[in-house]
């Protein structure tokens, strides 16, 4: 870690000195770049700002007051209402989402990591074929698989259970692809050889040596998978009937389609959407540190 920081500093220093001597960046291009970046920042942040503002209003003023500024600030009261509505069914959904995405993402990462590692480091017949099949899996949209999965799960009577959403979530072809590439370049054969000579079994080598070297890729896979599962909507829509199993995205969608019957749900849908992005933000902020060091580690090679 410290060596990475050191190196980054050196790179920055060399850039700075070059910049001082070389042709200066033109003010125009700099301004244009800043404007473009500013515009994109606004573009991405305004919906969240809107959501925050809308989440702080009561049902009436959502539609009648300026959508980008606060009217009657009652954010916390709304959150309280949300958590209390129908005996806290929203909290149940949030817990389900965390389970599906958190545990599912972790298991998916482990499986993808092991698979990618095996494909990168062991030579066996059919290795390329397996890899190509997995690659093919990247190309098949999850939506297209939802219905066949439903029929298969119906055969084994697992629809409308936790497993109906969890099991399909622990497969990540993209993760296999990424970890294979990463393992091939970051886990050196010499190191594995050394571990074997020291008497470590293959499993132990994987869990003590390789997994650490692959950590940046694994974090990336976890983040991707976490977000994918969290936002996965079609699979729960098809698989689940019992409200107590819904993830938060599906639950909010269901409420949103009931607005005609119960317009008061509007404020709950909005505050619910706002609360539901918090775990994603937390996951990103707390894991991006590793992610960045991962990219740097790749660059050094």
């Amino acid at each position: 870690m410290s060596s990475t920081v050191q190196r980054t500093k050196e790179i920055e220093a060399s850039r700075a000195s070059k910049g001082a001597r070389g042709p200066r960046e033109h003010v125009m291009s700099r301004t244009v770049a800043m404007v473009i970046m500013g515009a994109f920042t606004l573009y991405f942040l305004i919906p969240i700002w809107w959501l925050l503002v809308a989440g702080s209003k009561d049902t009436g003023s959502i539609l009648t007051t300026n959508p980008l500024w606060f009217a009657d600030f009652q954010l916390f009261q709304n959150i309280g209402d949300l958590f209390a509505y129908r005996d806290g069914v929203y909290l149940e959904w949030l817990r389900n989402s965390v389970l599906y995405a958190g545990v599912g993402g972790a298991v998916a990462t482990l499986l993808a990591g092991m698979c990618g590692y095996a494909l990168a480091k062991y030579r066996f017949r059919g290795r390329e074929m397996i890899f190509n099949v997995v690659l093919g899996g990247v190309l098949v949209p999850a939506t297209a698989l939802a219905l066949p999965l439903f029929l298969i799960f119906s055969e084994v009577q697992l629809t409308n259970t936790f497993w109906a959403v969890f099991l399909p979530s622990i497969v990540s072809p993209f993760g296999v692809y990424l970890t294979r590439i990463f393992a091939a370049s970051s886990v050196s054969d010499e190191l594995l050889e050394a571990a074997r000579l020291d008497g470590a079994g293959e499993v132990r080598t994987f869990f003590t040596v390789s997994i650490r070297l692959m950590a940046p890729a694994l974090i990336t896979v976890f983040l991707f998978q976490f977000v994918t599962i969290w936002n996965n909507f079609f699979l729960p829509l098809i698989m689940l009937r019992d409200e107590s199993l819904f993830p938060v995205t599906y639950g909010l969608y269901a409420w949103n389609t009931q607005l005609n019957q119960l317009p008061e749900l509007r404020s709950l849908v909005l505050i619910g959407a706002l609360v539901s992005i918090v775990p994603l933000i937390v996951a990103f902020l707390s894991l991006q540190r590793f992610w960045r060091s991962g990219l740097a580690a790749g660059a050094v090679k």
């Binding site: 049902t59 009436g60 003023s61 539609l63 009648t64 959508p67 129908r86 390329e128 074929m129 190509n132 099949v133 690659l135 093919g136 899996g137 098949v140 219905l147 066949p148 999965l149 439903f150 029929l151 298969i152 119906s154 055969e155 009577q157 629809t159 829509l237 098809i238 689940l240 009937r241 019992d242 409200e243 599906y250 969608y253 269901a254 409420w255 949103n256 389609t257 009931q258 005609n260 019957q261 119960l262 317009p263 008061e264 749900l265 509007r266």
Partner: protein
């Protein structure tokens, strides 16, 4: 070479897993037919999207230990629940009971997704409890078959800004001709009489319904498609005229812009269903106390016809082992005072039974409408809904196609009437594509 081979193998593997899944469904062990009690305790599954229906089902469960109902709520029908029903029927694990809107029932019928509960004595005995036209919505033109128990209805009436009409000395229109005259006066006063919604095709169908038209009818097994019937074209030409003269606004319905048009007084009336009362109250809160409800404008002077927009039934889905118990519960849910009161309280459900229209809660004045007892107007409307309107088996496609045509008409290419003619042709094509017989072809 090697590469292509492996890719092909991968494709085969994927394909075969898909086809395998597609074939290995549906078991035919479940017998339909007889409507007899199981003679033991049963648990029914029931899927609905009415917010708060759990509380209503709890009332039933407390009194009926031998027939327990497990209710599951999800998105509304077109929001995914219908698709799920079809998948579950295919896989043989559909719930016993499902909520299905009137306009979707024919689709379920042609896909063989419904149990006929016409041989359940209690169902047939309840026939006269329901408002006549709601009953014909669930018998689908048959004599002895019943494919669902009517739950709610959406009789239409005229919501109008009482204050603005009075201030500007415009009489409240009682016929569509007067409505067009009023539209011109409202325009002079700086507003629009209403907003023409290009996407609410079932509202337009409600207008056609009121005019005595129907979009479908059945002749034996065959479907007759009449989207461009004379009544339908009459309604289309009427609105086309208002559009051409710029007397109605055309903002997309159910958007903030639309709510704002009503909230700011740009739009003065809305011919809508009973549930629209809450849409206005929540979408235009600043106009509280300024609205009133009158019977919908008529095509003939002194006429008393009403249209309908919305409404659903509770159907027993194919494969249910407990038709008798399911029908019994559905009847209780949609006819008993305690259930109807609770449903109205939870989700403003407007009953489909004659008695239900007299619930105490539907006799009270509504504050938002200047304490007018608005449900009296809808009660009359409910009894005046023309009983012959029939929905087709491909309404999703009909709505999409006609809506596309209406959008074009509103933006100036084509007319509402030509959109209906195009919709008629594409609907016939869609039916034929599904091998559903079409009459007169």
């Amino acid at each position: 070479m090697k590469h292509t081979k492996t890719a092909a193998a991968a494709a085969v593997a994927l394909l075969s897993s898909v086809t395998l899944a597609a074939c290995s469904s549906s078991d035919d062990s479940v017998a339909g037919g007889a409507c007899e009690p199981a003679g033991e305790n049963v648990t029914l599954e029931f899927t609905s999207w009415i917010p708060g229906i759990e509380g209503v089902v709890d009332l039933w469960n407390a009194e009926n230990p031998d027939i327990q109902v497990k209710v599951q709520t999800g998105p509304n029908g077109n929001g995914g629940t219908y698709k799920n029903f079809f998948n579950q029927i295919e896989a043989g694990n559909a719930p016993d009971l499902g909520q299905i809107e009137y306009d979707a029932l024919p689709n379920f019928l042609v896909q063989d997704g419904l149990e006929d509960i016409g041989n359940c004595e209690e169902v047939m005995a309840a026939k006269d409890d329901f408002v006549d036209w709601t009953w014909s919505q669930v018998t689908l033109g048959t004599e002895s078959s019943v494919y669902g128990v009517p739950q709610d209805s959406g009789p239409m009436a005229l919501f109008y800004r009482k204050d603005l009409f009075e201030e500007n000395n415009i009489p409240v229109p009682t016929t569509w001709a007067e409505y067009a005259d009023a539209a011109a006066q409202v325009k002079d006063a700086g507003g629009y009489i209403t907003n023409f919604s290009q996407s609410d095709i079932n509202q337009f169908a409600g207008f056609v319904w009121q005019a005595g038209g129907s979009w479908f009818s059945t002749e034996g097994d065959a479907w007759d498609v009449t989207l461009d019937s004379p009544e339908s074209v009459q309604v289309a030409d009427y609105w086309q005229d208002l559009l051409d003269k710029d007397l109605v606004s055309t903002v997309p319905a159910w958007t903030d812009e639309w709510n704002n048009a009503y909230n700011s007084g740009d739009a003065w009336t809305w011919v809508s269903a009973v549930w629209g009362a809450n849409s206005i109250a929540s979408g235009a809160p600043d106009t509280a106390g300024k609205w009133a409800v009158a019977p919908a404008p008529q095509w003939t002077e002194g006429g008393t016809d009403a249209g309908n927009w919305g409404g659903s039934s509770i159907a027993v889905l194919k494969g249910s082992d407990h038709k008798y118990e399911a029908a019994k519960f559905a009847l209780w849910l949609n006819t008993s005072d305690e259930s109807l009161t609770a449903l109205n309280e939870a989700a403003n459900i407007y009953p489909a039974t004659k008695e239900g229209l007299n619930l105490p809660v539907l006799k009270e004045g509504v504050e938002f409408y200047g304490d007018q007892a608005i449900y009296d107007v809808f009660k009359d409307a409910s009894s005046q809904v023309v009983p012959d309107f029939t929905w087709g088996p491909t309404m999703t496609q009909v709505y999409a196609d006609v809506s596309d045509g209406f959008k074009n008409a509103v933006s100036g290419s084509g007319t509402l009437a030509s959109a209906l003619a195009d919709g008629n042709a594409s609907t016939i094509a869609a039916l034929e594509a599904q091998a559903i017989p079409v009459a007169g072809e």
